[in-house]
C-alpha cells in the first residue's frame, strides 16, 4: 500500500514535532527522551479512533498523549510539577498521562503495570461490543517482566482487541538487548501465546503505521491480539544525565543514518510531496510551538498547599447504583 501525500504529511508533522519535543524536554533534569524513536510512537498511535485507548511506553509518552489531544503546555507543566498540569502537580507528568484522553500512563514508577492494566481496558472493550481497541507499547527490557507474559497470554485466551508494540530500542538503561533477550526478535515470543508476531522497522514510520493498522483492524474484527516488534534505536541517553558513552560508535553511526525523521524527509521529497523548504518550515513551526509551550509551563506556578489534599484519598462512594 503506497501511502498518500496526506498521510505522509500528517505523519511528518507529528514526527517533526516529536523530535523537537524529545530534544528539548531531554534537557530537563531526569527526563527520559525518545530522540530517534519518534517513528515508533507516531506510527503506533496515529489513525486510531478517539474512543480507542492507548497505553504508550514511558519513552515518548508526551508525544503520544499530545496526539490524543492533550495540551502541550499542560503536559510539560506535568513534567515540571506545576499547578497547571492535568494533575495539578500531584503526579509525575513525564510518565503519567491524563486518562481523560483515553491515554493510560504510569501511576507509579513500576514498569509492566501498564501492560497488565491496558489488557484490562481491552477486556472492557471486548465486553462493550463497541469494537474499541487498545494499542499499548513498552520497551524490550520491559518485555522480560512477568507482566508481559501474563498479559499477552490472557489477551490471547480471551481474544482481546489489543495490539502489543515493543518499542525495541536496543537498550534498557545500559543493558543491551542482546544481553537480556536471547530470541532473535521479540516477535518470536508471540508463538508462545498463539498470536501473530510481526517484526517492523520502527524507524520507517509508514511501515510502522501500516503494521499497527492491520493489527488494529484484526483486533477490531474480534480476531484477537497481535505482538509487534518495532525495531528502533535509543539515540538519547537513558535519561538527561546519562552520558550514554557505552553505545558502540559504529552501531550508533549506522543507526543515525536510519533516523526516522531523515527517512521520512527523504521519502517526502523523493515523492515530491514537499520541498526541503516546506519541511524546514514545519520544523520551525514545531520548534516555535514547543519552545513557547515549555516557556509557558516553566513560568507556571508551583502548586500551593491546597493541592496537597490530605483528605482526598478516596473517590466518593456511590450511594446508589445507576
Amino acid at each position: 500500500m503506497t501511502p498518500d501525500a496526506n498521510l505522509l504529511t500528517s505523519l511528518y508533522h507529528l514526527v517533526a514535532k516529536g523530535r523537537v519535543l524529545e530534544s528539548l524536554l531531554g534537557k530537563l533534569p531526569g527526563f527520559h527522551p525518545g530522540v530517534g524513536e519518534e517513528g515508533v510512537v507516531v506510527g503506533a498511535f496515529f489513525g486510531l479512533k478517539d474512543s480507542d485507548y492507548i497505553a504508550p511506553h514511558y519513552r515518548g509518552a508526551l508525544l503520544a498523549a499530545h496526539m490524543r489531544g492533550a495540551d502541550l503546555r499542560r503536559l510539560i507543566a506535568g513534567v515540571l510539577g506545576k499547578v497547571t498540569s492535568y494533575s495539578r502537580g500531584r503526579v509525575r507528568g513525564d510518565i503519567c498521562l491524563p486518562l481523560q484522553f483515553n491515554t493510560l500512563g504510569m501511576f507509579s514508577g513500576v514498569l509492566g503495570n501498564p501492560l497488565n492494566i491496558s489488557t484490562g481496558i481491552a477486556l472492557a472493550a471486548s465486553l462493550d461490543e463497541k469494537q474499541g481497541v487498545v494499542v499499548t507499547s513498552f520497551g524490550e527490557g520491559t518485555s522480560n517482566l512477568g507482566a508481559f507474559h501474563e498479559s499477552l497470554n490472557l489477551a490471547a485466551c480471551l481474544a482481546l482487541p489489543i495490539v502489543y508494540i515493543c518499542q525495541n530500542n536496543g537498550y534498557a538503561m545500559s543493558t543491551r538487548t542482546d544481553y537480556a533477550l536471547k530470541c532473535t526478535s521479540i516477535a518470536d515470543r508471540a508463538q508462545g501465546y498463539g498470536m501473530p508476531g510481526i517484526r517492523v522497522e520502527g524507524n520507517d514510520v509508514v511501515a510502522m503505521h501500516q503494521a499497527v493498522q492491520s493489527a488494529v483492524a484484526r483486533a477490531r474484527a474480534g480476531e484477537g491480539p497481535t505482538l509487534i516488534d518495532a525495531v528502533t534505536y535509543r539515540i538519547s541517553g537513558h535519561y538527561s544525565a546519562d552520558p550514554n558513552d557505552y553505545q558502540p560508535k559504529d552501531e550508533r553511526a549506522s543507526w543515525l543514518k536510519k533516523d526516522p525523521l531523515l527517512l521520512l524527509k527523504a521519502r517526502l521529497t523523493a515523492q515530491g510531496v514537499m520541498t526541503d523548504a516546506q519541511l524546514a518550515e514545519i520544523e520551525k513551526a514545531a520548534e516555535a510551538e514547543i519552545t513557547e509551550a515549555i516557556a509557558q509551563a516553566q513560568a507556571d506556578p508551583d502548586p500551593g498547599l491546597e493541592v496537597l489534599g490530605p483528605d482526598d484519598l478516596y473517590s466518593p462512594v456511590l450511594e446508589r447504583v445507576a
Binding site: 501511576f107 503495570n113 492494566i117 481496558i121 489534599g309 473517590s315
Partner: protein
C-alpha cells in the same frame, strides 16, 4: 430473610448486585459452572450469569488484577477472585503502586471500582491460611473488608461493589461453610468503615475481626460467668478503620484487648492500638493487652496450627491479666 452460611451470603450479595448493575463482572480461576471456584466461592454464578460475566482466566494473578484495574478504568466494576490471600503478592504491584493511587494522583479524574476477593484463615484447607493483610492495608487508597458473620459478609460485599475504590475482601475459610445466620434479602449494605459492637460490656474492650471476633464473643460469654463484662468490637473493615467506635468503648472501659489472627508487626490492629494509646493513654493509665499469631511462619500439623493461634483460652487470660490488677 433466610438462613445463610457465610459463603452463601457472599454469593447472594454478589448475585444481587450483578443483577442490579450490568457493569459488574467476575474474573477468576475456575470460577465457572464446572468448578464453581475454590471452596465454592463462586457457586451458581457461572450457571446464572454465563461466561461473559463469569470469566475464567489462566493462572496469572498479576494480569488478573491488572485486568480488573483496566476494566474498572474503562467503566466496568470488576470482581477479581484470587483464590487465596496467599497469592495477593503476585497482584500487589499493579494494585498498590498504581490502582490505589489513581484517584489521588489523577486529581480526582479517574477511580478504580474493583473488588478483589481472597480466602484465608486457618480452616479446612491444608495451608493457604496466611492473610498478608498488611500488604494491602498498609497502602493508602485500598479499602479492606474482613467480615465475621454471614450478614456482615453480604452487606459489606454489597458496599464494596458500590464503592468507587479498590476493595480487598477477605473471606475466612473457617467461617465459610460454618454457622448459618438470618440474612436479609432486601437492599441493605454494611458500610465500610463502620465497626459494630457485637456484645456490650463495661469492664474491658475486646477488638477483633473475622474468626477472632467469634472467638472473642465466646471468650466474653465465658468471662461474663466470671463477673467480667467485656465489650466486643468488630471493626468489620480494617481500612477504613472505625477508630472512633473503638475509642469510645475504650474511653469507657479503660482496658483494651486486641485479638488478631495475624502477625503483630504490620498488623493494622497494631496501628489501631497505637492510635488508641495516642488518644487515651496520656491522661490516665490505660491497660492494653494484645493476643496475636505466633511470630513464626504458620505451622502445618493441626495441633501446631491451633497452638500458634489465639483462642478462647488465651483471650480470656489476656482479659484477666489486665482486669485483675485493680
Amino acid at each position: 430473610m433466610s438462613q445463610l452460611t457465610f459463603q452463601e451470603a457472599v454469593i447472594q450479595g454478589i448475585s444481587e448486585e450483578m443483577e442490579r448493575d450490568e457493569r459488574i463482572f467476575h474474573l477468576g480461576q475456575d470460577i465457572g459452572p464446572i468448578y464453581n471456584g475454590a471452596m465454592h466461592s463462586a457457586k451458581g454464578l457461572g450457571a446464572k450469569f454465563g461466561p461473559r460475566r463469569i470469566i475464567q482466566t489462566p493462572i496469572s494473578e498479576s494480569a488478573m488484577v491488572g485486568a480488573g484495574i483496566g476494566a474498572a478504568l474503562a467503566g466496568r466494576r470488576p470482581i477479581v477472585q484470587l483464590m487465596f490471600a496467599e497469592f495477593l503478592g503476585l497482584g500487589l504491584t499493579p494494585l498498590a503502586c498504581d490502582a490505589a493511587a489513581m484517584w489521588y494522583k489523577s486529581d480526582g479524574k479517574v477511580s478504580v471500582p474493583l473488588v478483589i476477593r481472597v480466602l484465608y484463615g486457618a480452616g479446612p484447607h491444608r495451608g493457604h491460611s496466611e492473610d498478608y493483610q498488611a500488604w494491602v492495608a498498609s497502602v493508602p487508597g485500598i479499602k479492606v473488608a474482613m467480615p465475621s458473620t454471614p450478614r456482615d459478609a453480604k452487606g459489606l460485599m454489597k458496599a464494596a461493589l458500590r464503592d468507587n475504590n479498590p476493595v480487598v475482601f477477605f473471606e475466612h475459610m473457617a467461617l465459610y461453610h460454618g454457622a448459618r445466620q438470618e440474612v436479609p434479602e432486601d437492599d441493605y449494605v454494611v458500610p465500610l468503615g463502620a465497626a459494630e459492637i457485637k456484645s456490650e460490656g463495661s469492664d474491658v474492650t475486646i477488638v477483633a475481626t473475622a474468626l477472632m471476633a467469634q472467638q472473642s464473643l465466646k471468650a466474653a460469654e465465658q468471662l461474663r460467668g466470671e463477673g467480667i463484662s467485656a465489650e466486643v468490637v468488630d471493626p468489620r473493615s480494617i481500612v477504613p478503620m472505625d477508630v472512633e467506635t473503638v475509642r469510645r468503648s475504650v474511653a469507657k472501659t479503660r482496658r483494651l484487648v486486641v485479638v488478631s489472627e495475624s502477625w503483630k508487626t504490620g498488623d493494622p490492629l497494631s496501628d489501631l492500638t497505637a492510635s488508641i494509646a495516642e488518644e487515651l493513654a496520656g491522661e490516665a493509665p490505660l491497660k492494653i493487652a494484645r493476643v496475636g499469631l505466633q511470630n513464626t511462619p504458620r505451622p502445618f500439623a493441626m495441633p501446631l496450627v491451633r497452638a500458634a493461634m489465639p483462642n478462647v483460652q488465651t483471650i480470656t487470660e489476656a482479659v484477666r491479666r489486665i482486669t485483675e490488677s485493680n
